[in-house]
Subunit: 239 residues, 2 copies
C-alpha cells in the first residue's frame, strides 16, 4: 500500500535566510535518497524561467535534479512520469488557475494520493494542496474556474500566518478576523495557520508540525488553539 | 443631463475615531439637503441586523434616515426607489457574491450611472464600485460568479493601502508587490491605492482626492506616483 507523503511549508524564505534554507534539512529528509529528480511547478510567478533557475540551484545543492513543468512539451505527461513534485510560492490565484488551465488537477491528485509520490508545497504551493484556496492571503489578480484545490488533506491552511500587531494603527482586518469570517460561512473546514518558519509533514495517516514556530488552529465555532513544533496533528487527517 | 456622483472612501473607521467619523463632513456635503433617506447594503458582514443598526445611528446623527436592503421585501425594488445608496465594508467577496445572488448589479448600475443617484462606498463598498474586485485585500471566503464589479469608474481601487514596513521580518508580499503582480496580467486597468484617511469624490467628469492622507497610483508598466489630497484625478475617468 502506498502512503500519501506531503511536506507543506508556510513560506519559501525566512527572514535573514536564503531561498528554502530554513526547510532544507526537512526537504532532504523528506525526499531521502530514492528520489533523483523533482518536478517543479513555477506557475505562481510570472517569470517562470527565472523562478525555475532559482529552484533548480537550490535543489541541485541538496542533491536533486529539477525539471520545470513549463519547459516540458506536455505538462500532463511530465506529472505522470514525476518522481516527486514541488510547487513553489507566489500568487495562489494565478497558480490554481494555471493548474486548471493545464488540466493538472486530477493527474497531480492521482500521482500524490494513489501513487504516493512525495509532494512539497511552499506558500501558494501549500495552499493548493488543501481543500481550497479560500484562506489564501493573496490578491485575486486572476479568476480561477473554482477555488477548490488539490485536496490532499481535509482541511485548509493559512500560510505566512501573522499575529495581530498591537501597535498598528491600521484598521484593516487582522488575519485572525479574516479566518473567523471564513468560518462564518457554513460547512467550512478547519484552518491550520502556519506561521513563517513552520511546516506540516504528512506521511500516510500521520501528520506532524515541524520547524521553529508555532501553528494556530482555527475550528469553526471554537476558540483557536496554539500548537508547538513536534506536535502530532494526525487528528486533522480524520475530519 | 444627470451626473454620476460617487464618494469612494478607503476605510470606514480611522484609528482613534468612530464609525465614519473621519468622512462625515464629506458625506454630509456629498448628500446635501436634497436626500432624505439612504439605502444601506450590509452584505459584506454576516450580522446584517447589527451592521444596519450601526450605520443607521451614524446616518441619523447626520440627518438622514437609513433603510437597510436586507429588511426590504424586494431588494431590487428597494434599489429602484432609492434616493442614495451606501455600501459598507467587510468582506468584498461576500459582498459581491450577494450583489450577484440578489440580481442587483445591473439595477444599481442603472440607478447610479443613468439616474445619477449619489453612491457612497466604504472599503469593500469602494472595491465593488470599480471595474473589478481583483485588487481587494480580502480573503476569498466565498466564490462569486465573477470578479467583475459595478464598474462606475474605469479603474480599480485598493482600499486600506499600506506602505511597506521597513522593520517587518514578515516575508509575505507587500501591498505594492501584490498590485504589481496584478499589473503583470494583460489589459489590467490602473489601480488607485487609497491610504486609510482618504477618499475619492467623483462628480460627472470630475474626480478629486479628499481627506488627510495621500493616494498612490499604479499604472501597468509604470512607476507608481504619489498624490496629495485636493488633487484633481479627472484624468482617471477618461482611460
Amino acid at each position: 500500500m502506498t502512503l500519501k507523503r506531503l511536506l507543506l511549508v508556510s513560506n519559501s524564505t525566512l527572514y535573514g535566510g536564503g531561498y528554502l534554507e530554513h526547510c532544507q534539512d526537512q526537504i532532504q529528509k523528506f525526499l531521502g535518497g530514492q528520489v533523483k529528480r523533482v518536478l517543479f511547478i513555477p506557475y505562481a510567478l510570472q517569470d517562470r524561467d527565472n523562478y525555475a533557475k532559482t529552484a533548480r540551484q537550490k535543489f541541485q545543492s541538496l542533491g536533486y535534479a529539477l525539471d520545470s513543468i513549463h519547459e516540458a512539451a506536455d505538462p500532463v505527461e511530465s506529472v505522470l512520469t514525476a518522481e516527486a513534485i514541488f510547487i513553489g510560492g507566489g500568487n495562489t490565484f494565478r497558480l490554481l488557475k494555471a493548474l486548471y488551465d493545464n488540466n493538472l488537477i486530477q493527474v497531480i491528485r492521482k500521482k500524490v494520493i494513489e501513487d504516493g509520490i512525495p509532494y512539497i508545497g511552499s506558500s501558494a504551493g501549500t495552499n493548493v494542496a488543501t481543500v481550497s484556496i479560500n484562506t489564501t492571503n493573496d490578491m485575486p489578480i486572476v479568476y480561477p474556474p473554482s477555488l477548490q484545490a488539490l485536496g490532499f488533506v481535509p482541511f485548509n491552511i493559512n500560510p505566512h500566518y501573522l499575529d495581530p500587531n498591537a501597535n498598528s494603527k491600521h484598521m484593516g482586518e487582522t488575519r485572525e478576523q479574516r479566518i473567523k469570517q471564513y468560518h462564518e460561512e457554513p460547512d467550512t473546514p478547519h484552518v491550520l495557520a502556519l506561521r513563517e518558519g513552520c511546516m506540516l509533514l504528512v506521511e500516510g495517516n500521520k501528520a506532524t508540525l515541524l520547524g521553529i514556530t508555532k501553528a494556530r488552529l482555527f475550528k469553526r465555532g471554537e476558540c483557536p488553539t496554539e500548537h508547538e513544533p513536534g506536535e502530532d496533528f494526525s487528528f486533522l487527517l480524520n475530519q
